[in-house]
């Protein structure tokens, strides 16, 4: 398995990397999931969602993906009546937003460890708690900050 491309989170004017997949929960609850095409080991789920925390609530504001039938998938594909913004009331759990420099790289899922984790505790789409977790300090002074993926394999398009 490869480290995975994160979802995006818009929070207080910043675009952050979000190590959680609230749509996975939606697909499990409804049984409705587009046949997403995955042609890269760093993006097995086949889509990237952009989320926003606004007024203490979690919203899906953008969705990018392609199906195996070459159809573009957007929010309107899943939620035709709400093409611009969807309240993620189906999601309960913790959203982890890694910050700072890399402490330990794990080439699997969202396993890598960073200096800090911003944790959003969500209950039915509503933010209940926000916590900053300190994981340590990097020894590499000039290392760049932010989420990263070491390597990935891209497959050729098969039809």
């Amino acid at each position: 398995m490869t480290a995975q491309v994160p979802e995006k989170l818009l929070y207080e004017g910043e675009e952050l990397s979000m190590c959680a997949e609230p749509l996975r929960c939606y697909f499990a609850l409804t049984g409705l999931q587009p046949d997403f095409r995955s042609n890269c080991t760093a993006l097995w789920r086949g889509y990237v969602g952009t989320w926003e925390i606004s007024e203490g609530r979690l919203y899906l504001v953008k969705l990018q993906g392609t199906t195996n039938q070459d159809e573009e998938v957007s929010i309107a594909t899943l939620f035709p009546d709400f093409p611009d913004r969807v309240f993620a009331h189906w999601f309960s759990g913790t959203i982890r937003v890694p910050q700072g420099k890399l402490l330990e790289y794990v080439h699997m899922g969202y396993g890598s460890k960073y200096e800090r984790d911003l944790l959003f505790d969500i209950e039915r789409g509503v933010v209940k708690k926000i916590e900053l977790r300190q994981n340590g300090t990097s020894d590499i002074a000039d290392d760049e900050e932010g989420y990263r993926i070491g390597a990935a394999t891209v497959f050729s398009q098969q039809k």
Partner: protein
């Protein structure tokens, strides 16, 4: 001569039994899985590997069964037994269900629909019971009769892949039968 014909005829029958039992027990092929396997083992994609595994090995196995079928007889029986067993259990292990021990509190459809109505200040969800999950709720309601009791439930679920989950929702109960159910929340266990 007749002995040889009979011997190979039985071998052919056993070969056919093993072949069809193998086909019946095979899982549907998945392109995604092939891609994963090829990514980890690039040699799988070579022509030599494919000829060996898809042509040479099956031919050699067939010849072995024809020639030494008395030894392969247990294999044939094992294959046939495996098929009948898998047909009686396919999918059952992977299907989430609610048990009586998971029931929490009896409620009513009216109470649920009042409690679970979604109201979003930005209007980003239908103002209906369960919001974006309303269609699934309506589908669940179709299964209910006046004799059904509705209970809330909370159950631990261990998916084939990934961490354990707590699944919560509502379930219909009729006498000793628990189900169908409507899952409203999936909470993944473990630290983020």
């Amino acid at each position: 001569m007749i002995f040889l014909i009979v011997y190979f005829a039985i071998g052919c029958i056993i070969l056919a039994v093993i072949f069809f039992a193998h086909q019946a027990s095979k899982r549907p092929s998945s392109t995604g899985w092939e891609e994963v396997a090829n990514a980890f083992h690039p040699e799988r994609a070579t022509l030599r590997y494919r000829i060996t595994t898809k042509v040479l090995l099956p031919i050699l196995t067939g010849v072995l069964v024809l020639v030494a079928w008395p030894i392969m007889l247990p294999v044939a029986l094992w294959k046939v037994r495996g098929v009948s067993k898998s047909k009686s259990t396919t999918g059952d292990e992977e299907k989430f269900s609610v048990a009586r021990k998971n029931l929490l509190q009896q409620t009513t459809v009216e109470q649920i629909e009042q409690l679970e109505r979604i109201d979003d200040p930005m209007g980003a969800a239908p103002a209906l019971p369960f919001g974006h999950l309303n269609a699934a709720w309506v589908e669940f309601r179709k299964h209910l009769t006046p004799q059904h009791e509705i209970w809330t439930f909370s159950a631990l679920w261990e998916p084939l892949w990934g961490p354990k989950e707590i699944r919560e929702g509502y379930v219909a109960v009729l006498g000793n039968v628990v189900g169908p159910h409507f899952v409203t929340a999936i909470k993944t266990l473990g630290s983020p």
